[in-house]
C-alpha cells in the first residue's frame, strides 16, 4: 500500500473534507458525552444553542472569536511559509503588556497624549512586541538551524513568567487589593461595544478587517506571493531569485504582530487590564484554527467562529447537563486531526499492489 500525490486534488473530496471531519468528530464526542452519562442529543442541542442559538449566544461567541481570529491569522501566515510559530500565546501576552504599558500606566491616564494618537500607538506597540518576540526564534532558525517549534514553545513559558513579574511589580494596579492584575487602560482607549449590553466590541471589526487584509495580501500582494512560493518550494523560489531569508523574516514579523495585536485587542475590548489568565490558550487554539481553515485567512474567520461557538456552547451546556467543559477541547482537537486526514484524502490517493514506479 502506498500513498501517492494526485496531480489535481479531487474537488469533490476537497469540498466534502470538512463535512467528513465534522461528522467523525461528532461521532467521537458523542461517545464522550455518553460516558458522562448525559443524553447525547440533548447535550448537542444545548451546545448548539449555547453557542449559536440566541443573540446573546452569538454575542458571546463573537467576543470569544475576536482574539481567535487574530491568533488564527498569525498561525496561518507563519505556517504558510513553513515557519512553525507555536509561540502565539506568549506573543499575545507580550502585546497585551505593551498595550497596557503605553495606555494604562501613570495612574490609568497613560502618557499625556490625545487618545486618537495613543490608541494607534498602543496597537503599534503591541504589534511590535509580538513581532520582535518571534523574530528571535526565526533568525535562530534561518541562521543556525535551531528548530523554531521548541524555541517558540519555551518562550511562551518565559513570557508568561515575565508578565507575572510585571504584574507583581511595575505594572501592578495599586487599587486592585493585592490581586496580580495590571493597571487599567484609560476609558478613552477602551474599545466600544458593538451591541449594547453585550461584550462584543469593535475589536471584532478590526479582526475581520485584518483577516480581509491578510487574505488580500496573500492573494494580491507580492509579499503574499513570495510567502506562498517559499513555503511550497523554497528551492524553486530561490532559483527564481526570491530572497528566501528576507521573506522568512517578514513572515515572522507579520505573524508575531498579529498575535501581539490579539493581546492588545483583548485588553482594550474585553478585559481592560492584563491578568495571568486572560488567555485560556488562545495562542494554541489559533494553530488549530489555522489548520482547520487550511491556512486560508477568510477560512480562519469561519473556523474561529466555529471553535468559539463550541467553546461558548460547551460552557453553557456544562452548566445545564453534567458534561465537563473540556469536551470543547476534545471536539476541537478531534476536528483538527480528522480534518487533516480528510484533506489528505483529497490530495493523495492510496495505491495498492507492488511498487509501480518512478523512472529510474
Amino acid at each position: 500500500m502506498r500513498i501517492e500525490k494526485r496531480a489535481v486534488p479531487s474537488r469533490r473530496l476537497q469540498l466534502a473534507a470538512p463535512l467528513l471531519a465534522i461528522a467523525f468528530t461528532l461521532l467521537v464526542s458523542s461517545l464522550l458525552v455518553a460516558w458522562a452519562g448525559a443524553p447525547v442529543g440533548k447535550a448537542y442541542a444545548l451546545l448548539l444553542e449555547g453557542g449559536f442559538g440566541s443573540t446573546f449566544a452569538w454575542s458571546e461567541t463573537l467576543t470569544r472569536a475576536t482574539p481567535l481570529i487574530l491568533t488564527g491569522l498569525s498561525a496561518a501566515v507563519a505556517f504558510r511559509a513553513r515557519l512553525f510559530n507555536i509561540g502565539a500565546e506568549g506573543q499575545l501576552y507580550a502585546g497585551a503588556l505593551a498595550a497596557v504599558a503605553l495606555g494604562g500606566l501613570h495612574g490609568g491616564a497613560g502618557f499625556a497624549l490625545h487618545p486618537a494618537l495613543l490608541l494607534p500607538a498602543m496597537m503599534a506597540a503591541a504589534a511590535v512586541a509580538g513581532a520582535l518576540l518571534l523574530l528571535g526564534p526565526a533568525l535562530l532558525k534561518s541562521r543556525l538551524g535551531v528548530d523554531e517549534v521548541v524555541t517558540t514553545l519555551l518562550l511562551n513559558f518565559i513570557v508568561l513568567l515575565f508578565v507575572s513579574m510585571m504584574l507583581d511589580g511595575p505594572m501592578k494596579d495599586p487599587t486592585a487589593m493585592g490581586w496580580p492584575q495590571s493597571v487599567v487602560l484609560q476609558d478613552a482607549l477602551q474599545l466600544d461595544k458593538l451591541v449594547a449590553r453585550t461584550r462584543v466590541h469593535t475589536g471584532l471589526i478590526w479582526a475581520l478587517a485584518l483577516a480581509v487584509a491578510l487574505w488580500a495580501l496573500m492573494k494580491y500582494g507580492t509579499l503574499g506571493f513570495q510567502i506562498r512560493a517559499v513555503g511550497a518550494n523554497a528551492r524553486a523560489a530561490a532559483f527564481a531569485g526570491m530572497p528566501v531569508g528576507w521573506v522568512t523574516v517578514k513572515v515572522a514579523l507579520l505573524s508575531g504582530a498579529l498575535a501581539g495585536l490579539a493581546g492588545a485587542i483583548e485588553v482594550a475590548g474585553r478585559t481592560s487590564y492584563v491578568t495571568l489568565d486572560m488567555s485560556p490558550g488562545y495562542g494554541y487554539s489559533g494553530i488549530v484554527i489555522a489548520m482547520l481553515a487550511a491556512l486560508n485567512p477568510l477560512g480562519v474567520v469561519a473556523a474561529a467562529v466555529f471553535v468559539a461557538g463550541i467553546l461558548v456552547g460547551a460552557d453553557s451546556m456544562s452548566r445545564a447537563v453534567n458534561v465537563p467543559t473540556y469536551i470543547a477541547d476534545v471536539i476541537v482537537s478531534v476536528s483538527l486531526l480528522s480534518m487533516l486526514v480528510a484533506t489528505m484524502a483529497a490530495q493523495y490517493r492510496i495505491v495498492f499492489g507492488r511498487r509501480a514506479a518512478h523512472a529510474g
Binding site: I3, W35, L140, L154, I287, V288, T325, V330, H358
Partner: protein
C-alpha cells in the same frame, strides 16, 4: 549567594530533590529520543504525559497496584503513540501538526475524563504513592521511589539497546537512511511504528511518575511544559541516552536551585530578584543549550522527512 549555592551543592536533601525533579525528564527525554532516532518528531509528549499521569493515577485510585498503574500509563502512552504513528508514518501527515493535535487531544481527553470521574470535588482525591526505598544503603537513592531507579536503569539499558542489539541498529538506520534499511531488507514503517509506540509508552510512564510518586493526586497543569523541555533536552543530548541523563539532571539542578534560592530570599548576588526570574532560568537554560548545540548537532539525518517506499 555564592556561598549559599556552594552549601546547597553539598547538601544531601538538595540532591534528593534534584533526582526527583529529574526523573520525569529522564523518562520523557528517553521517549522522545527513541522516536527521533527513528526519524519521527513526536510533539504529542506534553499531552501523553498528562494522559499517562491521569490514567495511571485513575487505575490506582480504583484499586490497582502501583506498578499496575504504571503499566496502564505505559499502555495509554503506547496507544497515543500508535495513533501518532498512523498519522505520520502511514498517512505521512506533517509531524509537527499531528503531534500538536495529539497533545491537545490527549490533554483534553484526560481533563475530561478526570472531570467526568470526579464532578463534585474541590480538592483532588489522593492515593498512596510509591514509598521511598529507605531500605537501600545508598545515600541519595534511598530517598527516591522505585520509578526513579527505573529511570536511571533505563539510561544504560536504552543505550545498550541502541548500540548493541540488531533491533537498535535497525532503529538507528531507519532514522539515518531509510533507503539503506530498505535495501537491507527491513521494513521502515514497521520499525518506526515500534519505535514511536515504545517511546510514547515511556512518555506515559513519565507522566505517571508525577501522580504516583512525586505527588499523590492529579492536578490540571501539573505537567506544565515538562514535555517541551524534554524535546529540547533531546537535542542537547545529541540523541544519546547518557547525555540525556546529564541534560535532565542539569535542568533539574537549575530548577531545584531556583526553588531554594527563592525560599532563602537572599537574591542573586545580593540584589533582590523577583521569584519569576528564578522560574525562568530553566527555560532560558534550555534555549541556550539548544543554540549552543545547534551548529554541531548531528541530527538523525532522516528526521522529519516522511519516507515513501519506492521513491528514489
Amino acid at each position: 549567594m555564592l556561598a549559599e549555592t556552594f552549601e546547597l551543592l553539598f547538601s544531601l536533601p538538595f540532591w534528593v530533590a534534584v533526582l526527583r525533579i529529574a526523573t520525569p525528564l529522564i523518562l520523557g527525554t528517553l521517549g522522545v529520543l527513541l522516536c527521533e532516532r527513528a526519524g519521527v518528531l513526536n510533539l504529542g509528549i506534553e499531552g501523553i504525559m498528562v494522559a499517562g499521569a491521569f490514567s495511571g493515577w485513575l487505575a490506582v485510585y480504583h484499586g490497582m497496584g502501583l506498578w499496575s498503574g504504571v503499566a496502564v500509563a505505559a499502555l495509554v502512552g503506547a496507544a497515543f503513540g500508535a495513533l501518532h504513528a498512523l498519522l505520520t508514518v502511514t498517512l505521512s501527515l506533517s509531524q509537527h501538526v499531528s503531534g500538536l493535535g495529539l497533545t491537545l487531544f490527549a490533554t483534553s481527553l484526560a481533563s475530561y475524563g478526570y472531570r467526568v470521574s470526579f464532578p463534585k470535588v474541590n480538592s483532588p482525591p489522593t492515593i498512596t504513592p510509591f514509598a521511598e526505598m529507605s531500605a537501600l544503603p545508598l545515600p541519595v537513592l534511598n530517598a527516591q521511589t522505585p520509578l526513579t531507579l527505573l529511570a536511571l536503569a533505563l539510561v544504560p539499558a536504552i543505550g545498550w539497546f541502541l548500540m548493541r542489539t540488531p533491533a537498535g541498529l535497525a532503529l538507528r538506520m531507519v532514522g539515518e537512511n531509510p533507503a539503506a534499511a530498505e535495501g537491507q531488507g527491513l521494513s521502515v514503517a514497521a520499525v518506526r511504528y515500534a519505535a514511536i509506540t515504545a517511546g510514547s509508552a515511556l512518555m506515559g510512564v513519565a507522566g505517571a511518575f508525577l501522580t504516583l510518586a512525586a505527588f499523590n493526586a492529579f492536578y490540571f497543569n501539573m505537567v506544565n511544559g515538562r514535555g517541551w523541555v524534554c524535546v529540547a533536552l533531546v537535542v542537547f543530548a545529541s540523541w544519546r541516552p547518557g547525555k540525556a541523563l546529564l541534560g535532565a539532571v542539569l535542568f533539574a539542578l537549575f530548577d531545584a536551585l531556583q526553588l531554594r534560592l527563592q525560599q532563602s530570599g537572599s537574591g542573586l548576588f545580593g540584589i533582590a530578584v523577583p521569584y519569576q526570574v528564578y522560574l525562568m532560568l530553566p527555560y532560558v537554560f534550555s534555549i541556550v543549550a539548544l543554540v549552543l548545540v545547534a551548529r554541531r548537532a548531528s541530527y538523525p539525518q532522516a528526521l522529519m522527512k516522511p519516507y515513501r517506499k519506492g521513491e528514489r
